[in-house]
Symmetry: C2
């Protein structure tokens, strides 16, 4: 069960020369989000960066998620997930979800949550979140599955400058 | 042929109150890219923002693209496309590709290009680009098609801070 384990590529920037492809792909701009899901008593939560909107009508998101993760297993079973926006001062929250999911009384990886409208765990310390229904999984092309999520509920509790990979100590891409 | 026409939602930020969903979805962080393709004598080029990496091995990108655009038509025919990274000082290049594609002797929408290794138009004034092979189109879910692109060639000609939607005068999302 090394699901959600720290990924070797989610690390402090190395001083070494990066090859052309890695250097170029790391110029793609991404935010940092916490993705959560639940199926029955099983919880999954992971920091993800490869995520974007994909449609206005209906409102869709697309994300690339490791298939070995708890969050992927939970969302493919329950067909629901929540995307949490992190504020630019919440690097330590992002970091908590590099590690395997541990749930104890009302907390996932030390972060308090409640059940959202769709039953997904909604983290309480993030400024905004989006509850979603899983509508498609593309899992035959690469080392991550592409999941397409339809937006069901969205809440922005406070105005915020979102945390981006570029402003974080980490990189994920290449 | 209103392909690539200026989209009503790619506009200067309005002062009006945004609803909760729009406000939340606009907290998703995106870069700004120019996507180009060509099938025979037909060229397509458009500024896109809904784009992310989707796999390390093989290296894949995913992008959400309007199906009415010339670039979508060209890439589904030729199965090739190029993603161009824009520098943070290249808003005027992004803006050129809000408009329908016009190609004259060596220029698309006023920007010089050459043929890349895969035959796609490679813009000469952008700091980095990625030539890709189209490997999947998901076109039955929303008002954009999700295209999955395999990275064939990547070149970074100069170090650059990439242009992001957050730092631009525009928004695209909600």
């Amino acid at each position: 069960m090394r699901a959600n384990a720290v990924d070797a590529r989610m690390h402090i920037r190395p001083a070494m020369e990066l090859d052309a492809r890695r250097k170029t792909l790391r110029l793609i701009s991404n935010g940092m989000y916490v993705l959560t899901s639940r199926c029955g008593d099983h919880y999954g939560a992971a920091t993800v960066t490869w995520l974007s909107q994909a449609s206005f009508k209906p409102p869709l998101l697309m994300a690339a998620v490791r298939t070995s993760s708890n969050v992927f297993r939970c969302m493919t079973e329950s067909r629901t997930a929540a995307v949490h926006i992190l504020g630019c001062d919440q690097k330590e929250v992002a970091q908590k979800f590099f590690f395997p999911t541990k749930t104890v009384a009302g907390e996932i990886n030390g972060e308090p949550f409640i059940d959202g409208a769709t039953g997904v765990p909604v983290l309480q310390n993030t400024p905004a979140h989006i509850e979603c229904r899983l509508v498609r999984v593309v899992n035959d092309l690469g080392d991550h599955a592409i999941v397409v999520l339809e937006v069901i509920e969205a809440e922005c509790r406070m105005p915020v400058r979102p945390l981006t990979v570029a402003e974080s100590p980490w990189e994920y891409g290449g």
